[in-house]
Amino acid sequence: MTMLALHRDGADWRLELSGDWSLGGLEQINAELRALPGPITGPLTCDWSGAEHPSIGAVWALLTRLALIGNAQLQIRHEGHPPHTIELLQKLNLELCTAHGKRAVALPGHEGAIARLGRWTVLQGTEAERVLGFFGRIASVLGAGLSHPRALRFPSVVRHLHETGVTAIPIVSLIAFLISVVVAYLGAQQLSRFGATIFVVDLVTIAVLREMGVLLTAIIVAGRSGSAFAAEIGVMQLNEETDALRAMGLNPIELLVVPRVIALMIAMPLLTIVADAMGLAGGGLLSLVQLHIPPAQFVTRLREALSPTTFWSGLVKAPVFALLIGMVGSYRGMQVRESARELGRMTTMAVVQSIFLVILADALFAILFVQIDF
């Protein structure tokens, strides 16, 4: 069905409009408008008597198209109940054409590979500088806290200790327990071939205490609390709450970041101890059920397997991981600007980067401990 019919009568032109002129019919109207032969040279009459539900958008499309294919002094007359908005739209269209001419859309210029590399390098440089500055500001607040303990915001630390520590106990316990059951089970499969199933106890003890307890805790905490830090501080950035704090002469690092970092550095070692205990319990349970090693024998063997440093070599890493997670989460939160999408991007980045940094730090610790024979 055609919606436009253009007739020529000597010098006069006549455009008959029909069909559905609502927003729903706009697609077809636009296609037919494009197909209109131009240029229209003489006075034009538009007959609206056949057009149903004329919408503002459709009238606009017609007027812009006519302005394009008609000459500058094209006279248009509307008849047959034209929509009441037509005068307004004609005026707007004229303004837009005269004030802005052809609407130019600025395209972003293309960048060469070298320019991109350069931009990336500069960005990484400034980023590194900012991270260092952020660390410095945290350190200076902590330093000031030594002489003025009030700067460390004790009530706030307690709240975050509850949120990042106490509420994480169930999930940390469950995961540590299950993973060590899996390790013990797989270990038993291998060791039973040598008739050395009692060494499952050594395997579980060393794996859980040295590595898995603290690493699993760090990864769970990064997912729970690192993301929460980034999101909380990020929303405060979006609401200009951090700017408000600065304007009141308060330091957002002192108020928001340091309590979170301190709380996490206290909570993480404690969570690691919980994870260690649950991991050993998991190994013990599997040894009892699968290998028929009674608990008393398990504990005796566990004492023999332990060297004095095994437990501490795991635990000492916890505050370092906590510092990394807390700092990355808060830093990414402080970087949120302008939009909700940025909040999501920064939260994701906080979790991914803190897990990466935790594993990198763990590798460095492993090398260090071997070197100093810890």
Partner: protein
């Protein structure tokens, strides 16, 4: 019976209000915000809603929009109870509304153009060219320059955000426009421009407008009638009627020091 068609039309219009709220009760816990609130909005009028902070102006708006279910009472839009209509009818009703929220509520991760296109894309299948044309149309309707299209909401000034939000509200060519404090946070010049824009769109597009406002200038300049929420009820009258009202709060509202200044300013050009 009036002889002129004009009078007959307005008499007919008064008989079927666009919005009719009856016996509305809104409670938050033990706090009663609306206690049997009732009012009507007539076709093609600009109705202002005023009231002190916490009297439930925004709650009322959210209830009419169907974003919140009241504890009691009915809301009828176009003569249909919004709780009784089928989901497709409800959707059609919602699509005939244009709404602007207090802070604009533009989607922060989309440009102004994408914000305006969003309802269009969801409702119709249109090519990019057509969508771009409609963005230009809506921007010029609200008096924004074409280069605002590619900006993100965070890059706009307060006045531009309000205009962009209005452009998005107009995209689906609504019959009914809800504005929540459209001039709050604007300088007097921008606020006055917005009033002029609203009057102009109201006249040209034949919209019915419900506007929550605290801006007395705006209220006197644009609104045909206003409803004042006092003690959980609404008192609806023309502005001269409200000025004569003896309710203490309404009297204070329209005769306080700020209101007197506005009245003088509004009265001056006429007398």
């Amino acid at each position: 019976m009036a002889a002129s068609t004009e009078t007959a039309e307005s008499a007919g219009a008064a008989a079927t209000p666009i919005i009719r709220v009856r016996g509305l009760v809104s409670r938050f816990g033990s706090q009663v915000v609306h206690d049997g609130l009732a009012f009507e909005v007539r076709p093609n009028e600009i109705m202002g809603i005023v009231g002190g902070s916490g009297t439930g102006k925004s709650v009322l708006l959210r209830t009419i929009l169907g974003l919140r279910r009241p504890q009691a009472g009915t809301v009828e839009v176009y003569g249909r109870d919004i709780e009784q209509v089928t989901p497709p009818e409800r959707l059609a009703m919602v699509k005939s509304y244009g709404v602007t929220f207090q802070n604009g509520a533009l989607i922060s991760s989309l440009t102004v153009a994408q914000n305006i296109q969003l309802p269009l894309r969801e409702s119709y299948s249109m090519t990019e060219d057509v969508l771009d044309e409609l963005v230009q149309l809506n921007l010029s309707l609200v008096g924004l320059a074409p280069d605002a299209a590619e900006k993100y909401p965070a890059q706009l000034s307060g006045g531009m955000v309000k205009r962009a939000a209005l452009a998005r509200a107009l995209a689906l060519e609504p019959k009914l426009l809800f504005l929540d404090e459209p001039t709050s946070g604007l300088d007097p010049i921008s606020a006055s421009d917005f009033d002029a824009l609203l009057l102009y769109l109201h006249a040209e597009l034949k919209l019915t407008v419900v506007m929550i406002t605290h801006d007395l200038d705006s209220l006197f300049r644009t609104c045909d009638r206003a409803g004042v929420i006092v003690d959980g009820h609404m008192i609806t009258d023309t502005l001269p009627g409200l000025l004569r009202n003896t309710n203490p709060w309404i009297h204070e509202y329209f005769h306080g020091p700020r209101a007197r200044a506005v009245e003088r300013a509004v009265a001056a050009p006429d007398g």
